[in-house]
């Protein structure tokens, strides 16, 4: 039975072919790594290193602070040259450690040791996942061990491994599924063991037939695992939409997937769990797609966390002359960068470089109420009305129209003929509403 997708959505030009054929290559160790301490949603970890410290590859350089927080590890061995603020791909300057590699790439003692995972129980796996600093690698960077710890009154009966990769341009998950399906599958099974679920679905959009085939082959021997091919419609990979497509369950407004008994993990996270559990390797590298018409040689690079965008771009042959936008993440939800000094974090799935001519300009002309945004909004909001309230700074009305349920997928702005900066408005409303809520106590 074919799966019917969620309401709304758009069909952007995907441009995945720019990088989808490029096999993952290892990015050579750069001369300098800028490792941000804040790489997870939740509480920023506490830095443990200072200028002049020598570190080993895999050594903890910042420890978790609180439950919703994970440690950060040194991506290679070398010397901490400074601890200072640097551009973070989220768009602000945040504290980071600059590590100058010594070239030996020497692991810390406890790391890179093969381990037999068959005897591990759920708690042990969760502990390893936490210590390895795992976060959701699809972009949101929510600590994985927290997701793996649903409260007892919210039993999970389905694990979804998200390989939809619905963002245009990005191919990191595709290459990972194609080249390392067995690792992803083993990681998924570790998650399934933690959650004690018997059903696992690997979800992939139909525009990646090779990935689907590779994952099906890897899943063939496993019980309770199946691979589902999904229609290509953005944002198919958004959690709530993905769950609806696969199960018809609706995550309640303001709720979480666990409210409907589902847990979603990105394929990259599953692979990172496999690396952490089987080989004691913390999360210090990931696949980053460097692509777009603004880069000379698009590529998928296995990159150490902390590699600057400049180094990645240089590795890919440099920018073309009229590159006008550097995006961390995909073009629908990614963050435009002002500096190439920003560095790769655990959530950086790609860097998309656009030429000036392709950059749409959002100008805030009047809404003509054409209703296109209403027809594409996968959360069935009324973006038109919301944006008008927010322009008037009527945030109470915006709240009444469910501004907080916006997932910032960008479909509304993508189709808006008046080119209104819709997502920008909604982010602002959410920030204002958070502020008001704090004030109200």
């Amino acid at each position: 039975m074919p799966l019917r997708s969620f309401f709304g959505g758009v069909h952007p030009i995907y441009n995945k072919e720019l990088a989808s054929g490029a096999a993952v290559e290892e990015m050579p160790l750069p001369k300098r790594l800028v490792v941000h301490f804040t790489q997870n949603l939740g509480a920023p970890p506490e830095p443990l290193v200072k200028k002049g410290d020598a570190v080993k590859k895999g050594q903890v350089i910042a420890e978790a602070r609180g439950f919703v927080s994970v440690p950060v590890h040194a991506p290679t061995s070398g010397m901490v040259k400074s601890v200072d603020v640097f551009p973070h791909p989220v768009g602000t300057d945040l504290p980071a450690a600059v590590i100058e590699p010594d070239g030996s790439d020497e692991w810390a003692a406890e790391c890179n040791v093969e381990r037999d995972s068959t005897g591990l129980d759920g708690e042990a796996i969760k502990q390893i996942v936490f210590e390895a600093g795992l976060v959701g690698m699809g972009g949101a960077a929510f600590p994985t061990h927290v997701k793996l710890s649903p409260p007892e009154n919210k039993p999970i009966d389905l694990l979804i491994i998200n390989g939809a990769e619905c963002e245009p341009y990005l191919t990191a998950d595709h290459r990972l599924m194609l080249e390392r399906p067995a690792g992803i599958m083993e990681g998924a099974m570790l998650f399934a063991r933690v959650l004690n679920v018997s059903e696992t679905i690997v979800a992939i959009e139909k525009n990646k037939p090779e990935s689907i085939e590779a994952m099906r082959a890897a899943a063939a021997e496993r019980e309770g695992v199946r691979v589902e091919a999904l229609d290509v419609v953005y944002p198919q990979g958004a959690e709530k939409q993905l769950i609806f497509t696969l199960t018809r369950r609706r995550v309640p407004a303001g709720g979480l997937p666990m409210d409907v008994g589902v847990l979603v993990q990105n394929v990259g996270t599953a692979y990172a769990a496999y690396e952490a559990v089987r080989f004691s390797r913390p999360l210090i590298e990931r696949i980053v797609t460097v692509t777009g018409s603004g880069i000379k040689q698009p590529a998928n690079l296995l990159t150490r966390i902390g590699t600057t965008f400049q180094d990645l771009i240089t590795q890919c042959g440099g920018l073309v002359n009229d590159t006008g936008k550097v995006i961390s993440g995909g073009p629908m939800m990614g963050v435009a960068q002002y500096s190439l000094d920003a560095s790769v974090t655990k959530g950086t799935s790609g860097i998309v470089l656009l030429r000036r001519a392709e950059i749409p300009q959002f100008v805030s002309d009047a809404c003509i109420r054409c209703g296109r945004c209403v027809r594409v909004c996968p959360m069935t909001l009324n973006p038109s009305a919301l944006s008008i309230f927010i322009e008037r700074m009527d945030f109470d009305q915006a709240a009444e129209y469910n501004a907080n349920d916006c997932i910032e997928c960008g479909c509304c702005a993508y189709v808006c003929p008046s080119r209104r900066p819709m997502v920008h408005h909604f982010r602002r409303a959410k920030a204002e509403l958070r502020k008001a809520a704090r004030k109200a106590g």
Binding site: V10, P331, Q337, P360, R369, C370, G371, N382, Y414
Partner: protein, 373 residues
């Protein structure tokens, strides 16, 4: 941060102006030297703005142009049927609409936006709603009310509560009843042999008012003439077939949806059908009501105006039904033979209310909340 970028973009319209500043900490971003542009090692400046960073490509003027294209067949047909007279009305109407748009925007110190084609569309729609005999000064009064009073004083495109072309038409209907409702001519090829006559709806009204009866049963030939447009009427309302073709084109292009036209026309058909069943000697056949007057141009091109009609499908269905109800009430019981324009304007007035009560439910709302709401 982002807003700055966008505002600047708007002012000077060049891409690279916003980036250096919006970064704030531009310590790492050096300005490119123009002379060295050919060299490879330029540190570029980057545009910073909120996501998304892609756009489908459709624009307001693109949409307006599609609607104008959809009206071209019926426009051409009106010239074929009414000749130079029709051409004259269209020319004066579109030209003066553009003029009033530019003038009022200049006076109100707003950017002149003739390029969005909305004034062209308003002028064309008004022309198609006028009789071919309209005097030039009357057309000017119509476009003045449409553009200046109907749209610009509210703040321009997007802020007008009422359909501008209909505001123009209704002002004319009320102010110049003779020119607007009594001086119709029969169509003939290129308008060669105009004969003064009444519209089909007008004839019925006359007959009813004078206490007499007309033959309300449509002959097949009569019905076909109405469909094709071989009858007296405003420029654009006569050919149902060509209007339908234009409307289907817009639906296929996803400029409009089916909701408003279907609910509007169906309501008129059902209500007039009920009256026809009650007393066929007083009330005309429902099919006659559907194909006469301005119903098709109104339902497909006026009631579907974005700015003045509801935004959700459910709202559009209610809106169309309301338009149909008022049209029938005015046609059967009002003092004007035609009620489409008044009906749409009335419904324009309650569009905000409809929108409010047809607010889409957010995805995943809890059942209990739903019940409580």
């Amino acid at each position: 941060m982002v807003e700055n970028g966008e505002m600047r973009e708007r002012k000077n319209g060049e891409v690279d102006s916003a980036s250096a500043e919006s970064g704030g900490a531009a310590k790492s971003v050096s300005k490119p030297e123009k002379k060295e542009k050919k060299k490879e090692e330029i540190t570029p400046r980057f545009l910073v703005s909120s996501s998304p960073h892609m756009h489908e490509g459709q624009t307001v003027s693109g949409i307006m142009k599609l609607v104008i294209y959809a009206l071209l067949p019926v426009t051409a047909f009106s010239i074929f049927m009414f000749g130079l007279a029709a051409f004259r009305v269209i020319l004066i109407s579109v030209g003066s609409a553009l003029l009033f748009e530019a003038l009022s925007q200049r006076v109100m110190k707003r950017p002149v936006s003739l390029r969005d084609y909305s004034a062209v569309l308003t002028g064309l729609l008004l022309a198609l709603n006028l009789p071919p005999t309209s005097p030039w000064w009357m057309i000017l009064v119509g476009t003045f009310f449409a553009i200046v009073i109907g749209k610009q004083i509210y703040g321009g495109l997007g802020y007008n509560p009422f359909n501008p072309a209909l505001v123009g038409r209704v002002v004319l209907t009320i102010s110049f009843p003779v020119q607007m409702t009594a001086r119709w001519i029969t169509p003939s090829m290129w308008g060669m042999n105009p004969v003064t006559t009444a519209t089909p709806l007008g004839r019925i009204r006359e007959a009813l008012l004078s206490g007499g009866q007309v033959d309300l049963h449509l002959s097949r030939q009569g019905f076909l003439d109405l469909l094709l447009g071989n009858r007296a009427g405003s420029l654009g309302e006569v050919s149902v077939i060509l209007l339908l073709a234009g409307g289907l084109f817009l639906i296929a292009k996803r400029v409009i949806t089916w909701h408003t036209p279907v609910s509007f026309i169906a309501t008129v058909w059902v209500l007039t059908g009920i009256f026809h069943l009650i007393d066929p000697t007083r009330y005309a056949n429902p099919s006659f009501h559907v194909v006469t007057g301005g119903l098709f141009i109104g339902a497909l091109f006026m009631a579907t105006d974005y700015v003045t009609s509801p935004i959700s499908g459910r709202g559009m269905l209610i809106f169309g039904a309301g338009c149909g109800l008022f049209t029938v009430v005015i046609r059967l019981f009002g003092s004007y033979p035609e009620g489409v324009s008044f009906a749409i304007l009335l419904m324009n007035g309650i569009t905000p209310l409809i929108d409010r009560y047809t607010k889409p439910k957010v995805f995943g709302i809890r059942r209990e909340e739903k019940a409580a709401a």
